[in-house]
Symmetry: C2
Subunit: 659 residues, 2 copies
């Protein structure tokens, strides 16, 4: 009789250390990488990029990919991450991040290529390729970078020589001379762990002796272990198609992806040509010279030219995917993709929350509801976990969430400037009611008393989600009276999983939710609330906590409570969201801290405005309520209403504070 | 930062070997115990019997317990297990099994005390105490028995001296002289693993020098480490109450449970008195002497006398529970319990299937639907698993189910005699339709053509469950035509969990089901069925298999499909039943084998009847169907109907067999 083999739900596999001899190579850089540093499980390299490409190619399902360069400034980094979120909506197969030695690309700076690529994978859920140049680098240093990349969850490398320091270069004894050397090194040190991409030049590399020589060199790179090729840009479809045929003719069989650069401006085109040593075809020059001062016209033309060229490429039947050089801009690329029909916004989410692409989070499918508006924070605070809940949240032991620190706060700070925030949240607060007004304006999307729309709150960087918008009227009522809501969901009793607002998961299923409400409110309100809640036991579960850690809950045995679930054909139940009493205690630290970090600090020390926010932080409670009776209309609004009635009752009405 | 600790869902803990130095003691008996032999996890001794007693005592919630003796014959064993099932319906806190050295009580025979107690725990879900006598035993032998008991999942021991061989006995050097020695030995070898119970004698042990001496002896036993006391029987409430006060007076503080013996017959009473050396009070003799030839009258009196005495005991406020000597009979005890209001048939099930009481199965809460009518078989075939699915079934690897063998078939054989089965299933079968008739009569509960009701089938040892009875008409229709159903459930769309027929789990929740149908049918039918099923994709999932292992399924990626689930206040989703393609392949071996083992073998070798059953076994397919669209009325009957329509269509209608 064979013993039961470990099941997939919550299986514990020991965390292996990296096998690349990390202690000898780049030790310093690996120690620095504490942020997403849990070693990736060796075995978990299913669903590789090259396999995805193969499947898409076989099914005739074209794709697109996007190339970005690392930002120069911290705010540039924040903007770029937002851009990833927006551009990932169209379904790119992968993105890649370029590597420039002068920019400290392997460091832990928020602007480094390494960190940007890691963020794309871990926080934005994007398959990502990290470029890596090898000239002027020792083998040790390169190995260190690769090990660090692996630690961070990166699985794909574009192996490049790079531009040597100085006009000419000499062959290094201990280093790399050609990209081929780098490819060989990666395969030798990491075997088949990484998918490797190399560069191809449709008209030959500028430094190559001849076009044919460069083709042979390309074949060498591929034979050394590359999985696919991305080409330099070109201006004519047949330039690429000829190159493709020539590659096949000399026996290169891997995928070859054309690099597309839509012309975005006159100067940028001239600059590009200088760097790449390419010639602009006469038919293009003829068009853009006359309009060289009209950037808008050039951009329009650039889009057209790219669309036409791409159509020819796709129609050839030999081009499974298109690779775009974005120069970190989105508008033109998205327009090209839309015209080509490649921008596929699949509104269907597989889960109600955005899935991370880190290999170790592959089976994660249940999270506490508290971080619904702050998924990046959740990923950050759980990055040291060895495994992630699958199926059930479970209750065998308290999870430990990572601390909040400056780095975390950086990546998660508001997209808005300080001035914009003051305009939205009030340059000067008079009293607590001023704060209530801000919340109310956020909910209603009406301008505040200074004529500004409140587009975000410290806990919600985006306006109300469509689902929450359904509850707008009730939310407005309660926020006006100091029930400051930061998270909520309506009850749902078996809507089809394809429902445009509430649906998620595979088609043909049904989704369910328990009504949920989470808000800050004063201790006077809480006293009345607790009295009211007695009448609603056991239908309503509550958890009430303040910044000092006092907490009250009626969660049975402190167990997690399912609040979102779905039933699908041929599958087990999916239960992606829970209200977990233990996690709530970690969440509350973050929720309370945001009053100070994002709001109070907008004001001068000791100013009345700051004092008001601080007062709220110190004295208000954070409350979460769940209505367990999901087939019935939510009773939570009635609970709040009863609370207000009790507060409005004539004096002499006794309520006993539990505190 | 603390790493995530292993979660409760599917956590893998290594299987520890027993710490009692097993290799030195009773090695032979421990090797034999292969049936439920996976060592019990040391840590999992939460919810002990003594804790349950304490909680019930504190809350004033009285209980009852039942004592049985091991059977002498194999069929006696089968009957006793059935009695456990029936008597457990009233909610006993525990049962106990007596130990008699002459009956090979520690062996693997089906009639041994050890095996009976183990079956009670593992298969009947009853908290069980195994008696153990120590005189004339070496310490090694005793340790061996205890280790084996632990391996089998037994957690409670009643430590007794026993009756020494020969009229007098001599103190053994290497052995045990008193029950106290046994108690000390258990604590010394197994520390706190077992709950230990000892015997008390309300009028003093017959061999004691005095009542007071015996009380001191009892205190010694308790001080040596016993957790509670069960007393010898007595005839007057005040006999026990005085004894109780005397125990408390000398400092015995543990629970003391009165042993109740309802008088069941004149001879049995005389026999009992002879063995126990008790005196029958005059008020009892006065009543029973005149009616000593009237067993019915004596039984009635016995029930009355027991009820009155127990009422006095319970009203004293000092008696938290009553212990009944059943002599393996049920009627009188159940009557007494009902009159006392202690027989609490809680129709509410915590899960739709009966939970096992083995400690290692504590977190098990999901099973494949296939064994719904054969839970003991499921427990048997999974007894070697180290851990059991919790939350989700999961799909990381095929589970391995144990083989079918003779032992298994013994315990799971029909309660009916061969003759009764032949009467129900046909002394002589004419053709396949004879078999269809048997199924149909089972479904309708109408007598067969020979006037006998078909009370069971090889796959179902009981008549139709109430829930299945709802589908009776549809089931009758299809069985008549050779769709031989052995398992089914209706769809349910959110019935309250307290629903008397379909409900389970905590109150205040909602239960759901997908419609399910499982049946044997001919290959001609299957050909048509597969054609029909194309129209029902993806709403209907199917799996079709024959005894030779050919199988077809449209289960996406062979994943398990949830077919029963429930939502409860303050809890995560419970999903207790799945249709799992991998498990179905193991189940089918059992399902097909039952044709032969339980039906074909009733007939002579080579007889026509046997050939018919064998033909069905060799040629029919086992089919399971799931209708994923649970909010809608089940389409499965329509599927079967369409199949018949296709079969009834005029000739020339082509259907293509996939085989």
């Amino acid at each position: 009789m064979v013993n039961q083999v470990q099941r997939g739900d919550g299986s514990l596999r020991s965390c292996k250390s990296d096998s690349s001899g990390l202690s000898n190579s780049g030790g310093e850089s690996s120690k620095e990488s504490s942020r997403c540093s849990t070693p990736v499980l060796e075995a978990d390299r299913s669903d590789r990029l090259r396999d995805k490409m193969r499947r898409r190619t076989e099914s005739g399902d074209r794709w697109f990919s996007l190339e970005f360069f690392p930002p120069r400034t911290a705010s540039g980094a924040v903007n770029l991450i937002s851009r990833f979120d927006r551009m990932s909506a169209g379904g790119p197969l992968f993105i890649d991040i370029t590597w420039h030695p002068a920019g400290d690309p392997g460091s832990d700076k928020e602007t480094s290529s390494m960190m940007i690529a890691s963020t794309a994978i871990n926080y934005c859920g994007l398959e990502s390729i990290l470029h890596l140049t090898c000239c002027n680098q020792t083998k040790e240093k390169i190995t260190g970078y690769l090990a660090k990349a692996k630690h961070l969850g990166l699985k794909n490398i574009m192996a490049l020589r790079g531009d040597p320091v100085g006009a000419d270069w000499e062959e290094e004894e201990e280093g790399f001379n050609y990209a081929t050397d780098l490819v060989k090194h990666i395969r030798s040190e990491f075997e088949d762990y990484f998918d490797i991409c190399v560069a191809g030049y449709p008209t030959g590399h500028p430094e190559a002796e001849s076009y044919e020589e460069d083709l042979r060199h390309l074949k060498e790179k591929v034979d050394a272990g590359a999985d696919f090729i991305i080409t330099q840009l070109f201006f004519r479809a047949d330039t690429f198609l000829k190159f493709l045929d020539d590659c096949r003719a000399i026996g290169i069989t891997c995928p070859i992806l054309p690099g597309i650069f839509p012309i975005q401006g006159y100067q940028s085109l001239r600059q590009l040509v200088k760097l790449s040593k390419l010639e602009i075809p006469e038919e293009i020059t003829r068009v853009i010279e006359p309009i060289k001062d009209n950037d808008a016209a050039i951009r329009n033309y650039g889009v057209q030219q790219a669309v036409e060229m791409c159509r020819v490429l796709l129609d050839s039947g030999k081009v499974p995917g298109l690779h775009f050089y974005t120069l970190n801009r989105e508008v033109a690329i998205m327009e090209v993709l839309r015209q080509l029909g490649l921008w596929i916004e699949d509104p269907r989410r597989s889960l109600p929350w955005a899935v991370s692409a880190h290999p170790k989070r592959k089976v994660e499918d249940v999270r506490p509801i508290f971080w619904a508006s702050r998924p990046k924070s959740y990923i950050y605070r759980t990055q040291d976990w060895d495994e992630f809940p699958n199926g059930r949240w479970g209750n065998s032991s308290s999870p430990a969430f990572g601390e909040l620190n400056d780095y975390y706060l950086f990546y998660l700070k508001s997209k808005s400037t300080k001035d914009a925030l003051l305009q939205m949240w009030g340059a000067e607060l008079m009293n607590e009611e001023s704060v209530y007004e801000v919340f109310t304006c956020y909910i209603t999307a009406q301008p505040n008393r200074n004529g500004h729309k409140v587009m975000c709150l410290p806990w919600n960087d985006e306006p109300l989600a469509p689902e929450t918008n359904l509850l707008k009227d009730e939310l407005e009522k309660v926020n006006k009276r100091g029930v400051l809501t930061i998270n909520s969901q309506p009850n749902i009793n078996g809507k089809p999983s394809a429902d445009p607002i509430a649906g998620w998961g595979p088609a043909g299923g049904y989704v369910f939710q328990k009504a949920y409400l989470e808000f800050f409110t004063s201790s006077e309100n809480v006293t009345a609330l607790l009295e009211v809640l007695k009448k609603y036991e056991p239908r309503v579960n509550y958890h009430i906590v303040n910044v000092h850690g006092r907490n009250l809950t009626n969660a049975p045995d402190m167990q997690p409570n399912a609040v979102t679930w779905g039933i699908f054909p041929g599958r087990e139940i999916v239960q992606p969201t829970v209200v977990d009493p233990d996690s709530f205690m970690y969440w509350k630290d973050e929720a309370f801290a945001l009053w100070i970090e994002q709001w109070a600090k907008l004001y001068e020390d000791e100013s009345p405005s700051r004092m008001i926010i601080k007062y709220i932080h110190d004295n208000y409670f954070l409350v979460n309520l769940v209505d367990n009776d999901f087939p019935l209309e939510s009773c939570l609004w009635q609970v709040i209403d009863d609370m207000f009635k009790m507060l409005d009752a004539p004096p002499g009405f006794e309520t006993q504070s539990p505190f």
